[in-house]
């Protein structure tokens, strides 16, 4: 009889920090101690707190161990699993002191990271074994499909999704129920359901985590969508760079077929549905819905003009419903708990919750799910644990290369689709990259433009040529050769590309530039007028100097310098006992090695 379960995160984050080794080690140690019949090891999906991986949770007490190493396993097994003594030194305990004093042991839900989260799309991630459909069923899995097929008409399913107020989580924010009704309204001999799992934004990994942690949920949701729209076949388009997600998805589909949850006559309702997995080769443009379908069809991933919309003429020319992973992840619970339950969360026009992938300059890198309308401040300062090293928050980039930045002054804006659009940002898929005072906003815009220039498919000129020109102007500005006219030209070109590109990639590619221009124009101006980079990032605008008065003359900087640019210039300066060092600006490559070596803070960059 199992009395205790050890949940080990098998998501990509923790796998890369070594959780696979832990699983073997736990198995060995548990066997050694004769606990095999009493303790079960479960490999789960992502818990969300990737910064502290590998993460291990021991139930029934719910003890949350973080950064567990192979050497720690023996101690956890003999102390905790055998003798019931929690290994305090490994416990993650970022909780209020009041909670700490009250509770005998700290449970996961008490930590500041989890306390204000509300998990809907991620509800099973880190809770069930994603490779076991039975565990999914035990958590009410497939009950929604059963309910839809046996008790609801397709129209009722669509109405339920529409009433819930769910909007597309891939970034566009189009009402999901409406999308379904369009496909349902079209008559055809064959219709399709497509799941967009081609998560391409740098820094976004919520779709991957859902697929890794709860793949059956997507299978179920797609079947529900098929029933509602009259489709009998579905495709999941997932990046080949997500090997764990692909493997688990295939297992989930196989298990669903074995149980007859996919296939012919599901729940004896006469409804047939089956799924296929297609791997994407990693082109960013394939996340755009029409390019994605072109790619599934076996062609080069290029977008096609809309209309006709996919609901009319989609995959293989048939009516198609395409939704993002996170959108689908909400569906089963909406059907099960009702539209009102879902609509009770969030703001007036954005219902439910949103998953954000926190990255960049933040303490708790990881995955969080909060109700719509939560402010950026709460997400960053409370759940995210603030900025490392006591630095000041400058801005957060939402929506990756298609989005914009939210500056510190707008930190109290409730996050939802319409508020973000109103301030010139975009919800995007939910990547949230945090930047502090050391980030140069022009450099950030350049980073994202670099990405879109690489990823532009080249089909339409505004995007192919326009983004390249944008990048060239940004290059000019960051290298100190820019003029004030360049800034105006930059802005004009942005609007031109936005208005004339064929697909979402080009239409949103200038967003990072426009948003940084809007909120940080003075930074652009100091690059071109003062020829200075205020954050000290753009190398061409920097000079490193040794402050003679504070220099101790130890010579450490000269030893560290890889370019041999630091030399003793004066051995016998009058009144000085030590040699004077100087940096030769012609040789200096601005790597900053001298500055981080100097113990006396005698080297400055300006």
């Amino acid at each position: 009889m199992i009395r205790s379960q050890v949940l080990i995160c098998g998501g990509t984050g923790c796998t890369s920090s070594g959780s696979a080794v832990l699983i073997d080690e736990f198995e060995n140690r548990i066997q050694e101690n004769g606990l095999s019949d009493e303790v079960k090891i479960v490999r789960t999906g992502c818990f969300g707190l990737c910064a502290l991986g590998p993460v291990v949770i021991v139930y029934p007490d719910g003890t949350f161990y973080s950064r567990v190493q192979k050497e720690d396993v023996a101690e956890i097994v003999t102390e905790h699993l055998l003798k019931g003594r929690i290994v305090e030194r490994l416990v993650y305990s970022d909780v209020d002191e009041s909670v700490k004093e009250e509770a005998a042991h700290v449970s996961l839900s008490d930590t500041t990271f989890y306390k204000s989260q509300r998990r809907v799309a991620l509800r099973n991630c880190g809770v069930i074994n994603p490779e076991s459909i039975e565990e999914y069923i035990a958590m009410d899995g497939y009950a929604a499909l059963g309910k839809a097929l046996t008790e609801m008409t397709p129209e009722e399913v669509i109405k339920c999704v529409m009433d819930s107020g769910l909007r597309g989580r891939g970034g566009g924010g189009f009402p999901t129920g409406k999308k379904w009704s369009f496909t349902a309204a079209n008559k055809a001999d064959q219709k399709y359901v497509v799941c967009n799992a081609d998560e391409g934004d740098p820094g976004a990994f919520m779709d991957r985590s859902v697929l890794e942690g709860d793949p059956s949920c997507i299978v179920e949701a797609m079947a529900i969508c098929g029933y509602a729209t009259g489709a009998t076949e579905g495709y999941i388009y997932v990046r080949a760079e997500y090997p764990i997600a692909v493997a688990r998805l295939k297992i989930a589909i196989e298990q669903a077929r074995e149980y007859g949850l996919l296939g012919k006559n599901i729940f004896d309702s006469g409804f047939d549905f089956d799924l296929h997995v297609r791997l994407g080769a990693g082109a960013f443009v394939c996340g755009e819905e029409t390019a994605l379908m072109t790619s599934i069809e076996g062609n080069r991933g290029e977008p096609r003009p809309r209309p006709p919309y996919p609901a009319v003429k989609g995959l293989f020319g048939k009516p198609t419903t395409e939704n993002n992973v996170e959108t689908f992840a909400n569906i089963p619970q909406i059907i099960l708990k009702g539209a009102d339950w879902f609509a009770s969360m969030g703001t007036e026009k954005s219902k439910g919750t949103k998953v954000f992938a926190l990255g960049g300059k933040i303490n708790n890198t990881g995955l969080v799910e909060v109700p719509m309308g939560t402010t950026l401040r709460e997400v960053i300062e409370e759940i995210g644990g603030g900025i490392p090293h006591g630095k000041k928050f400058k801005a957060a980039q939402t929506g990756g290369p298609s989005g914009g930045c939210i500056p510190a002054s707008l930190m109290d804006t409730p996050i939802d689709y319409d508020n973000l659009t109103a301030i010139g940002c975009m919800m995007g898929s939910g990547g949230l990259i945090v930047m502090d005072e050391d980030n140069c906003m022009v450099d950030i815009a350049k980073f994202f433009l670099n990405f879109t220039v690489d990823e532009s498919c080249g089909k339409c000129t505004p995007c192919r040529v326009g983004t390249k020109r944008l990048l060239e102007i940004l290059d000019k500005i960051t290298s100190g050769k820019g003029t004030l006219e360049d800034i105006d030209k930059l802005e004009d070109l942005c609007y031109y590309i936005k208005n004339n590109s064929l697909c979402g990639l080009g239409q949103t590619a200038p967003n990072p530039v426009l948003a940084t221009l809007k909120f940080f124009r003075e930074e652009y101006i100091s690059h071109v007028v003062d020829k200075k980079c205020p954050a000290g990032v753009c190398k061409d605008l920097l000079t490193y100097k040794i402050v003679k008065d504070t220099c101790f003359g130890c010579g450490m900087c000269a030893k560290q310098c890889p370019a041999d640019a630091i030399k003793v210039t004066d051995y016998t300066a009058p009144g000085k006992k030590k040699p004077a060092y100087e940096i030769d600006p012609d040789k200096c490559i601005k790597c900053g090695a001298c500055m981080s070596t100097c113990k006396f803070k005698a080297i400055v960059k300006e």
Binding site: D61, K83, A143, F267
Partner: protein, 121 residues
């Protein structure tokens, strides 16, 4: 899969495997599992509790955990039962048989078995 009943049957069968992860129940059974406890035979006691609680279908609101030495080694195996709003009950010198009885009479029936408690030892 042909019916909701079929689905419910799988769910039923699997429920006790995942229920442990849904957070602690209303009642906590804590078994002393330090060296003294193990030497006195705490492991069969612990396993009996887990098994019986599952058999009786109480796993949803009873959590079984271990703890270290509480300092009364001569009374081991010690089992403490915590219930919200009630006073802690401490059973001492437990055996697998006594554990079965505690599940039956105390956890299920709600009656403390006075003769096994600390006060009567």
């Amino acid at each position: 899969m042909k019916s909701l009943a079929e689905l419910a049957a799988i769910k039923e069968k699997m429920q006790n495997k995942v229920v442990m992860r849904e957070g602690s129940g209303d009642i906590r059974v804590v078994v002393g599992m330090a060296t003294c406890g193990i030497a006195a035979g705490a492991r069969p006691v612990l396993n009996t509790f887990v098994e019986e609680i599952n058999n009786e279908g109480l796993a949803g609101n009873v959590t079984v955990t271990q703890t270290g030495c509480i300092g009364i080694c001569q009374y081991e195996p010690v089992v403490e039962i915590f219930e919200a709003g009630k006073e802690k009950v401490t059973y001492v010198k437990m055996t697998a048989e006594k554990a079965k009885e505690v599940v039956e009479k105390h956890l299920k029936g709600g009656n403390v078995i006075e003769e096994y408690t600390m006060t009567n030892a």
